[in-house]
């Protein structure tokens, strides 16, 4: 399958030379990465290659050691300069995860992290939090504006549940959902923050083939909404059928980036996963 050339190749997210060092371990090593508007980008690599750490760098869960990350017009992470540097006395400036979500990046987690004792609908409503503004006085006073925003948030949440196919489970507890539905709920919750870029960390892990296919359709539907998507996956069929572009991380560094066909044909990728006879198992 060949990549769909995207009509508007405007870069949405640009990462330049992002590195993250944990003590002696260079988990992410000087990675350049660009996501264009409306693109689905796959991020693959052997276990421990630094994929999730890179995700965490993008979403602010982890502060990179160096590099620059720009989303649209906003610099999510970069070198500190001017008054910022004087004020913080740090070499880099970073946004917190909640700020980054507000800027437009939303994510799911490799090991599902829903709010288990909240209902399905409430989980999605929490995602609406950063797009609503009602404060304490408004909540206690309950003016017409409060009721309107609350109603709108609910309508949007229900719409999103419909979108991922969980409409009927709205009042279930999140932890009571089957495993595949929990993954889809996480996606709905992330979509509720109105992101421009959705980061999915192994969205099909633990799913059966039918559920995987459904997830693939869901991701395509999300792209059709105009969102860009980055997917970490180990399921190569999923990646190569879905993505416009695939990047391979190995030991923290980007090995290759290209269309699925290019990546599939590259001998170094196979080597990275399976190792060469001389080096033994590299993963």
């Amino acid at each position: 399958m060949t990549a769909q050339p995207v009509a508007t190749a405007t870069p949405l997210l640009q990462a330049h030379g992002v590195s993250k060092r944990f003590g002696g371990l260079l988990a992410v090593n000087n990675v350049d990465f660009v996501v264009n508007q409306g693109e689905i980008v796959g991020l693959i690599g052997p276990n421990g290659a630094g994929k999730t750490t890179f995700f965490n760098c993008l979403t602010g869960m982890v502060v990179p050691t160096s590099g620059r990350i720009v989303y649209g017009d906003a610099e999510i992470f970069g070198a500190s300069s001017g008054w910022r540097k004087a004020l913080s006395r740090r070499d880099v400036h970073a946004h917190t995860p909640d700020q980054i979500t507000k800027i437009g990046l939303a994510r799911t987690f490799q090991n599902i992290r829903l709010f288990p004792n909240m209902t399905v609908l409430e989980n999605v409503l929490v995602g609406r939090h950063c797009r609503t503004r009602e404060g304490v006085l408004s909540a206690v006073g309950r003016g017409p504006r409060f009721h309107r925003t609350e109603r709108e948030a609910r309508e949007r949440a229900v719409e999103l549940l419909q979108f991922v196919g969980l409409r009927r489970d709205a009042d279930e507890l999140a932890r009571g959902l089957p495993y595949g539905d929990q993954r889809r709920l996480e996606i709905a919750r992330a979509l509720a923050t109105d992101p421009g870029l959705l980061l999915l960390d192994e969205p099909t892990a633990g799913m059966n083939p039918a559920e995987t296919r459904a997830t693939m359709d869901l991701v395509k539907k999300i792209r059709d909404l105009g969102l860009a998507v980055i997917v970490i996956e180990h399921d190569m069929k999923f990646i190569f059928n879905l993505c416009d572009k695939v990047a391979v991380l190995v030991q923290g560094a980007k090995l290759i980036e290209g269309t699925p066909a290019e990546v599939q044909a590259d001998p170094r990728v196979i080597e990275a996963y399976l190792g060469t006879t001389a080096e033994g198992d590299a993963s």
Partner: protein, 558 residues
């Protein structure tokens, strides 16, 4: 080491196996014997008892202990029917009858100076209820009964009846002067409440309440307002009620911090104290260094604001801590507050505290309100303490409203999300630091508001009023009543503040008994006495879902 619980269990099993085939005749016989025993004389004529006998144990007839045993024994006959939840109903009543009989037997023997002082009724009643308990224990276990959904007028009627009966029970109970007698009454009511719960009365009540919220709150409000009227000129319980009210308001505030946001605050009483000291200093008390009088309508929001600001200032650096660490820092803060007021003698008079705080006056408010004077309303004259009861009701309504409305908004959902999974909450765009600070600040504000009234009710504030143990008491009230619920916090405060006033011996062993109560609660009803809808599901909806949540999502690479 011998397996003592195992031996007990085996014995219980053997006993069950023997009773099982003869359950019905045995149950009728045991219930009949116990009921008849309640009619027989429980004391022996001619024995000189040290105390006048409670509940008229001397003659033939019903009253006090014996009435309770009689009623409970008859309720046990539900075991003959097919009602779901009959086991819980019958065992609760049999256990209640047994405990009451044993208490009566014990006090008769103790006061009469020997086993001969206990009459035939006491012995037969004890043995009868013991057998009754053994028989009811053989009933099959099952889920509680579910009452059919009530139609509109019946639902409203049910709300009125349940609230009315509870109010009546409280009023009757408080009217019983003798301590043993009160304890028996409490056990009697407790057994009946457990039985009613198994019958599904409270589930139906809750359903009706949810359906007719406005009616439910109106009836509850009417019951609270009716309380001082039932007490007439007797000030004792109005005074206790007034203290329970402010503590309940503070407990609801703590519930925001602990129940919603999940932040364990062990120094919460300090904010209550800050409100109290602000109020005391600005009230022109008799023993104070600051002689200014600021109208209470100004002091009330001022005390709340000062407490709230200090709460935010204290929370800002500390709320980055989690769990145990936060608990220890808040514990320290509570102590810092106490030590500061103890040593800042120039302002707070140190350990002596500020006393002689005048009663509230709200001039120009509804034609001038004097809280220090008794009033006559609808022909019922009430002591001045009743005024504070009414003020407390207004305060609690205010605090409840703030709690309920915040809970049901994006802020409340964000708090719960933080409690559930802080990292995920941050990833969903919630500024966790700001929201935790907000929870802390709102809790402190509500406590400060309650504290300003408490200073006037207690007429003095001293550092000793705000020791750690008071924080622990409030926290116990929240946990006992049920975390995250408003009625739970009120019930918890009522039990923990009110009950020791009635039972002196509870006061002596207060901490021990609270600890015991909490341990038993954690074992048998971890969600608290009154359950929030969310918690109910959290504790009692299958473990399979939770397993799915924690199932590792790792798969091997291709």
């Amino acid at each position: 080491m011998s397996d003592f619980p195992g031996v007990l269990r085996d014995g219980r099993e053997r006993l069950r196996a023997r009773i099982e085939p003869r359950r019905r005749p045995l149950l009728v016989a045991a219930a009949a014997v116990t009921a008849v025993a309640a009619l027989l004389p429980w004391s022996v004529p001619g024995v000189g008892y040290t105390n006048p006998l409670p509940g008229d144990l001397g003659s033939v007839g019903l009253g006090g202990h014996r009435l309770y045993v009689f009623v409970l024994a008859l309720v046990c006959l539900v075991g003959l029917t097919n009602v779901a939840g009959r086991r819980r109903m019958a065992t609760a009543c049999a256990l209640g009858a047994l405990v009451i009989s044993v208490i009566a037997l014990y006090s008769l023997i103790k006061q009469g100076g020997g086993t001969g002082a206990a009459g035939v009724g006491a012995w037969v009643g004890t043995v009868g209820s013991l057998v009754l308990l053994a028989v009811t224990d053989t009933l099959p276990t099952g889920p509680p009964n579910r009452l059919p959904r009530l139609a509109a007028p019946a639902a409203v009627g049910a709300i009125v009846v349940v609230v009315g009966v509870l109010l009546a029970a409280v009023v009757i109970g408080l009217g019983i002067d003798d301590e043993t007698q009160f304890l028996c009454f409490a056990i009697f009511v407790g057994a009946l409440i457990a039985a009613a719960g198994a019958l599904g009365v409270f589930a139906a009540f809750r359903e009706a309440f949810d359906q007719y919220r406005a009616v439910g709150y109106a009836v509850a409000l009417a019951a609270a307002v009716a309380f001082p009227f039932t007490q007439g000129t007797n000030a004792t319980w109005d005074a206790v009620f007034a203290r329970v009210g402010v503590f309940a308001a503070a407990a609801i505030g703590l519930n925001v911090v602990v129940g919603l946001a999940g932040l364990l605050d062990l120094g919460y009483i300090a904010f209550f104290g800050i409100g109290g000291y602000v109020s005391a200093l600005l009230s022109d008390a008799v023993f104070t260094t600051v002689h200014v009088h600021v109208p209470f309508l100004v002091v009330f929001p001022l005390g709340a604001m000062v407490a709230g600001l200090i709460g935010v200032a204290f929370g800002a650096p500390t709320l980055r801590l989690r769990g145990d660490y936060l608990a220890i820092v808040t514990l320290g803060f509570g102590e810092i507050f106490r030590i500061v007021v103890q040593n800042w003698t120039g302002l707070t008079q140190g350990p002596n505290g500020i006393s002689g705080i005048p009663d509230l006056r709200l001039p120009g408010f509804l034609g001038g309100m004097q809280f220090g004077k008794p009033h006559t309303v609808f022909g019922v004259s009430m002591p001045f303490q009743a005024n504070y009861v009414f003020l407390d009701i207004v305060l609690v309504i205010f605090v409840m409203l703030v709690f309920a409305r915040l809970n049901d908004s994006r802020i409340g959902r964000a708090w719960v999300a933080i409690r559930e999974d802080e990292l995920a909450a941050r990833a969903m765009g919630i500024n966790t630091i700001a929201l935790k600070l907000l929870a802390f600040g709102i809790g402190a504000t509500l406590a400060g508001a309650a504290g300003t009234i408490n200073a006037h009710i207690g007429e003095s504030v001293t550092p000793d009023d705000y020791q750690f143990i008071a924080s622990a008491l409030l926290l116990s009230a929240v946990v006992l009543g049920g975390m995250g619920t408003v009625p739970g916090a009120v019930l918890g405060a009522a039990l923990l503040i009110g009950l020791p006033e009635k039972l002196r011996f509870v006061q002596d062993y207060r901490l021990f008994l609270f600890g015991l109560a909490l341990v038993l609660l954690m074992r048998f009803r971890p969600e608290g006495l009154i359950v929030s809808r969310r918690r109910q599901r959290e504790f009692h909806e299958g473990g399979s879902g939770a397993d799915a949540m924690s199932q590792p999502a790792q798969v091997a690479p291709v």
